[in-house]
Amino acid sequence: MITGFAALYIFMLAAFTGYEVIGRVPVILHTPLMSGSNFIHGIVLVGAMVALGYAQTDLERVIGFVGVLLGTINVVGGYVVTERMLGMFKKSKPGSGA
């Protein structure tokens, strides 16, 4: 169980990590990176699955279903577009005169 100060420590360390990891990213990667970080918060799908999995009333099932649906769009769409963008970055071929 993550409670109280332990949770605050995790929040703080994760915030520093995010700040530091992004701080060194060149501008040319900002758009794919925004898309990539958008994909990563798609982990919300896991929470929505749990919400749906433990839903008991019909209303809870509807909410859980919507959550899983939206979370999946976040995950799948985020992955596909990030992968497409990053796949385009190529280095000059050696000897092309650059």
Binding site: I2, A7, I10, F11, T17, G18, Y19, V21, I22, V25, P26, V27, I28, L29, H30, T31, P32, L33, M34, G36, S37, N38, F39, I40, I43, V44, V46, G47, A48, M49, V50, L52, G53, Y54, L59, E60, I63, F65, V66, G67, V68, G71, I73, N74, V75, V76, G77, G78, Y79, V80, T82, E83, M85, L86, M88, F89, K90, K91, K93, A98
Partner: protein, 457 residues
């Protein structure tokens, strides 16, 4: 035992996310980065199926299939120029999912301690605002909403709705009162606030807002992760919340605007008439054959592409031109302003799509000193980002914005559709400079002509 194994897989997923983000910080390893993050996601999702005591597996699989198929197809098909709004819509869906988790928690009744429930409510507010705001951002960039809605008392109304949403949210917390009606009112107000907050913001500022909503969704996911006691959600959410906030600041700074300015005022609206003082000289046209000769004998050419180039779908032609110039012995580089395209890095993606290697693409810090040594600078579809007025005229709306020093080159050729000003409505001093020649025409046609002329030399 199973719960321990699942927690361990979540931990591993969190590590893979951070490792993936780190790999994405260099063009060489970036593609591997998304693969690692994807592996972490797959691990987290698959292990979640094994939580003991869960039901509704049929619904779960149906919801995943219904979400996965259209988003996969749309993601594969979307044009690179439309990437910003796709990121917006996928991000909004994530915010909606976080809000849904919170809704389930609030409606469930007082099952957790008061702090946890309050955190769920806060995440719900942020997630719901991100959801509706992102949908509006998508609609604006997609051209479904063409105008920015502004009216008197707008800020007052927005603040009123936000306060009402917070009050309704507080009243809806289960330890205050278990009330489905109040929960519904809370979500409606939060969604309305997201819409109201986004409608007055113009299309040019939308990338900053999308980035902000990306950070919002991350934060909401992190908060709901706390509610669900899910370390992977906390870490991934907060990492994205923090990095998204930094990225938002970087974007706003590159556009010479504060975040508050983007969110609470329309660009150039308050200034009314735009001063054109300080612009002297005349526009001097050049034809394609003269421009081609000038470039053919240059030893160093810098190309400054702007969004106008992408709109004309001219990036493939521009790369062909660059290769033709290299055959003539010129050294060619592409100079990218942080706000070229629709968001930072967007122009890099568009050039990469056309096959331009990333080591030829330079950002403003890398290349600004080189302009003084360049024989020819070719400006295609860019305007405000090369306007020297940003350096000298404190009354200009773009004063202080970092610009590419194109004016310091020996010769400047500007490819431009017509004589109008940029999106900010500011006259561009560069276009009137003695060393500047204007090559009028559609970017695609003009560059094609240049290539033909170069080949016939």
């Amino acid at each position: 035992m199973m719960a321990q194994a699942i927690q361990a897989s979540y931990l591993l997923a969190a590590i893979l996310f951070i490792f993936g983000l780190k790999r994405m910080s260099s063009p060489v390893t970036a593609r591997g980065g998304i693969t690692w993050a994807g592996a972490g996601m797959a691990l987290g999702i698959l292990s979640t199926f094994f939580w003991p005591g869960m039901h509704n597996y049929g619904l779960m699989v149906v919801a995943i299939a219904l979400g996965a198929i259209p988003s996969w197809l749309s993601g594969e098909r979307v044009a690179m120029t439309n990437m910003p709004q796709m990121v917006a819509i996928y991000n909004g869906m994530g915010g909606g999912a976080a809000a849904a988790i919170a809704a389930a928690e609030l409606l469930h009744g007082p099952s957790a301690d008061q702090v946890t429930i309050a955190v769920a409510g806060l995440g719900a507010l942020i997630g719901a605002v991100s959801f509706s705001g992102s949908v509006i951002a998508f609609a604006k960039l997609q051209g479904l909403i063409n105008r920015s809605v502004r009216f008197r008392g707008q800020q007052a109304l927005n603040i009123f709705v936000l306060v009402a949403a917070v009050v309704a949210g507080a009243a809806a917390l289960p330890f205050v009162k278990v009330s489905t009606g109040m929960v519904v009112l809370f979500f409606v107000l939060a969604i309305v606030y997201g819409v109201l907050m986004t409608v007055p913001i113009g299309g040019a500022d939308m990338p900053v807002v999308i980035s902000l909503f990306n950070a919002f969704t991350g934060l909401a996911v992190g908060l709901e992760g706390y509610v669900l006691n899910n370390a992977a959600m906390i870490i991934a959410g907060i990492v994205v919340g923090a990095s998204g906030t930094l990225l938002t600041q970087l974007m706003a700074k590159a556009m010479n605007r504060s975040l508050a300015n983007v969110l609470f005022s329309g660009f150039g609206v308050e200034s009314g008439a735009v001063a054109t003082g300080g612009v002297t000289g005349s526009l001097k046209p050049i034809d394609a054959s003269d421009a081609a000769v000038m470039m053919a004998y240059a030893s160093s050419v810098i190309i400054v592409p702007g969004y106008g180039m992408a709109v004309a779908q001219a990036q493939h032609k521009v790369w062909e031109l660059a290769q033709a110039l290299e055959k003539h012995g010129a050294h060619v580089a592409f100079a990218i302003h942080p706000v070229a395209g629709r968001m930072p890095g967007h122009m890099n993606v568009l050039l990469a799509e056309a096959g331009v290697p990333y080591d030829k693409i330079k950002d403003i810090e890398e290349i600004n000193a080189d302009f003084a040594h360049a024989d020819v600078v070719l400006v295609i579809g860019a305007n405000d980002v090369v306007n020297p007025i940003a350096r000298i005229d404190p009354s200009s709306p773009i004063y202080g914005m970092p610009i590419l020093n194109a004016d310091q080159a020996k010769n400047v050729i500007v490819v431009k559709r017509g004589r109008g000003a940029g999106f900010s409505g500011i006259e561009n001093m560069l276009f009137y400079a003695d060393n500047t020649r204007m090559l009028y025409g559609d970017a695609q046609d003009a560059v094609s002509h240049l290539i033909q002329e170069l080949k016939s030399l």
